[in-house]
């Protein structure tokens, strides 16, 4: 029973981290129609910048400054790169972000080298917050939860309660009309892109110490972020939240409990073949849930796309 609670907390941390990435991406996606492949790269930049700043000024300044730099970089990419490619259509835009992701990875290696960076949890938060049946919950994880929830509430407030948010929401659906009303839509696009990438930067700052700061960190997270927003429904902030948490919990529980494929199949009445070693499906029979935990989201995505292409909370058929 206690383990379930622990797993819920762990899944929450994973899910909320995913949410910080997918929130920005889903906004960018619905606004510009672009699958921003470089989104996770901005997450990586956040971690590296924060590491560099933390050496000189400490973790907290890193948390403050790194996302700003990332946001400015993101806005710059929109202004001088994407906007230019936008005129050619969606595929070139998408491929642009794809190439950008590769280039950022190369740049990071160029500047920081190829090794893991010793970017660590700050001393203040390096203790056990509490324990549940012998399982310690590090304080940093609690900190991560609070930061992510804070950001979600902030985003929700800005998008639904402020004038800027209203304009953004309108610009998402009716860019021409909003432009005709005298608002600078390209500026809004640039701003949203900047804020979206800054959010990814925040995620990088707080995930770097826990998940490791290395040149492959963007790749590990890259496609799963798309999966999240596709499952949640493009452009839906709530969808992104629900899908993130769903994926967080799904993978955590799948890893925590050893569910065997043979148990499931036996459960539905298919008996295990006698000579498993000679059977061509032997590998299939011996699959366990931790083995496939991290590919479960892809299975879920394919199923959702087949049966409900708009995603869980999507309003439109894409």
């Amino acid at each position: 029973m206690e383990l379930i609670l622990v797993n819920i907390i762990d899944g929450l941390v994973t899910g909320l981290l995913l949410f910080m990435l997918s929130a920005g991406l889903t906004l960018i996606f619905s606004m510009m129609g672009v699958l921003n492949f470089a989104h996770a790269s901005f997450y990586m930049l956040g971690a590296y910048f924060a590491y560099q700043i933390s050496i000189a000024l400490g973790f907290w300044m890193g948390l403050l400054i790194a996302p700003l730099i990332v946001g400015v970089l993101g806005a710059g990419v929109e202004r001088y790169g994407l906007r230019r490619v936008h005129q050619y259509g969606h595929v070139p835009e998408l491929i642009f972000t794809f190439g950008l992701a590769l280039l950022i990875e190369e740049l990071v290696q160029f500047i920081w080298g190829k090794n893991q960076m010793p970017y660590n949890v700050p001393e203040v938060l390096n203790f056990t917050a509490f324990s549940i049946a012998g399982n310690s919950i590090p304080a940093f994880k609690i900190f991560m939860i609070f930061i992510s929830i804070g950001i979600f509430i902030g985003l929700l407030y800005i998008l639904t309660k402020t004038r800027v948010g209203m304009i953004i929401q309108a610009a998402l659906s009716y860019p021409r009309t909003v432009e005709a009303l005298g608002h600078n839509v390209p500026l809004i696009f640039m701003g949203v892109f900047g804020v979206g990438t800054a959010l990814a930067g925040v995620a990088g700052v707080i995930a770097g110490p826990v998940l490791g700061t290395f040149p492959g960190m963007a790749f590990v997270l890259g496609s799963i972020v798309f999966v999240t927003i596709v499952i949640g429904g493009l452009g839906s902030l709530w969808g992104a939240l629900v899908a993130s948490l769903l994926i967080g919990w799904m993978t955590t529980f799948a890893k925590s409990y050893n569910i065997r494929m043979s148990d499931i199949l036996n459960g539905i009445g298919i008996s295990t073949p006698e000579n498993l070693d000679d059977n061509i499906f032997r590998d299939f029979w011996t699959v366990t849930s931790p083995q496939i935990a991290d590919i479960l989201p892809y299975i879920l995505m394919v199923l959702i796309l087949i049966f409900r292409p708009a995603g869980l909370f999507g309003k439109r058929e894409s």
Binding site: G33, S223, D283, I299, S318
Partner: protein, 431 residues
């Protein structure tokens, strides 16, 4: 994202005219002769190996462009069709009785059939719509199959993959394909055959309708064609040729591993195709040749090859969305007008300094890299046959000066080039 992943028709910047070329035999004969003669120019085994790799990439990229360029379907997991075709070929190779019953050059057909089979299964549900849904399903399926490669060891062989020996096939007119040169001709035969077949495909009714569905699926439906089935046929055909590429891979390397399936390979083929240009049939061929050279030859020269490749790619997307082929085809009207001469001098004035400037920039990048990452005490580095000390100021000044002067001149002469370009593109005029 709109339903259809193609460019907006009202924007003339990108004109896809894959369909507007007429069928001529000339280029194919030139290609065949070139393929025959290449081994006499580049005789070493490594050159043959690299060329084989190039031709395999050509087949794969052309197959990919059947989807992206001609069908308007963006796939993030196309490597799995080539990979599964290749794995199937390896298993056939390892089944000695079956393998000994036919000559080696037949093997790629089996690769194609298996790639096609998988494409039929996946296509059955993924081609219902194009656009984001198709792209994301391809990503998901690609990830799933790539993940299977380490889980389902019986077929994919786990990490070390599946290996075999091509020489156990039935001798083909006494040839057992022991040497690279034999394999080269086998590969060349297949690349030519596949390219011709894929070109002819684009001239068939279903190939033409693939273009129509790409441009306007709804209109195609009101002409009696189901957009879904048109996509399905393109997808299956693309899967077949991807499988052929996989079969050629199996013959060349005699081993298939997880890397033949993973998303990185799928991403590479997207880059290759786009770099070459999706709007023209021959675009992917150029892309495959350029990329293979960058990956295999440039990587022998510098560790930063991926950095340069990435920059080249990004520059292409930003400035020449038609890819290298588009860049070439831009000159066709000028050529037709007989005004190519007018461009030569302005080109020389701008592009040569620009090239020098860019090379200077590369020198600065290499020197920075050397300064930061080389062994302590190893101050010596060689660039362009010049050996110098990277820790002294002089080389930096020289490189910076070359860069500044080169790019400066290019910037100065660029307006003149633009003028000449506009002039050359106008019919009539002075010449």
């Amino acid at each position: 994202m709109t339903d259809q992943i193609t460019t907006d028709p009202s924007k003339p910047a990108q004109r896809m005219r894959a369909g507007s070329m007429s069928l001529t035999v000339g280029p194919w004969i030139v290609a065949a002769v070139a393929l025959m003669l290449m081994p006499y120019i580049f005789t070493s085994n490594s050159a043959l190996t690299i060329m084989n790799q190039m031709w395999i990439t050509v087949v794969f990229a052309l197959a990919y462009n059947m989807l992206l360029g001609q069908g308007g379907m963006l796939s993030f997991g196309h490597a799995v069709y080539a990979g599964v075709g290749g794995f199937a070929c390896m298993h056939i190779m390892n089944n000695s009785d079956l393998f000994a019953s036919f000559p080696l050059p037949v093997l790629p057909i089996f690769g194609g059939l298996f790639g096609m089979g998988l494409a039929m299964i996946v296509g059955a549900f993924s081609t219902r719509s194009a656009g984001t849904v198709f792209a994301m399903i391809s990503l998901g399926v690609g990830e799933l199959i790539a993940a299977c490669s380490v889980i389902i060891v019986a077929f994919f062989g786990g990490e070390e993959g599946v290996s075999g020996d091509r020489t156990y096939a039935m001798p083909f007119f006494g040839n057992e394909f022991l040497q690279q040169i034999d394999v080269y001709y086998l590969t060349s035969f297949w690349v030519l055959l596949s390219a011709i077949l894929m070109y002819l495909w684009s001239r068939t009714p279903v190939g033409r309708m693939a273009n129509a569905v790409r441009d306007n699926p709804e209109r195609a439906e009101f002409l009696g064609y189901s957009a879904r089935w048109v996509r399905f046929y393109s997808f299956v055909a693309s899967g077949f040729f991807a499988g052929v590429a996989g079969g050629l891979f199996a013959i060349n390397y005699e081993i298939l591993t997880e890397e033949n399936l993973n998303t990185a390979s799928s991403g590479v083929i997207l880059l290759v195709t786009f770099l070459g240009g999706v709007g023209f049939f021959f675009g992917p061929i150029i892309g495959a040749i350029v990329f293979t050279l960058v990956q295999t030859v440039l990587s022998l020269q510098t560790e930063l090859w991926a950095f340069y490749a990435g920059s080249l790619f990004l520059a292409t997307v930003m400035f020449f969305p038609g890819g290298l082929a588009g860049l070439m085809m831009m000159h066709v009207p000028v050529f037709r007008l007989g005004k190519m001469k007018m461009l030569l001098l302005p080109y020389a004035k701008t592009l040569i300094p620009a090239a020098i400037g860019i090379l200077g920039l590369c020198c600065l990048v290499e020197m920075t890299f050397h300064y930061r990452h080389a062994a302590t005490g190893d101050h010596e580095m060689t660039l362009f046959w010049t050996t110098f000390d990277s820790h002294t100021l002089m080389p930096w000044i020289i490189a910076a000066a070359i860069t500044a002067v080169g790019l400066g001149i290019a910037k100065m002469t660029a307006p003149a080039l633009k003028e000449a370009w506009d002039e050359a593109n106008t019919a009539g005029g002075t010449s």
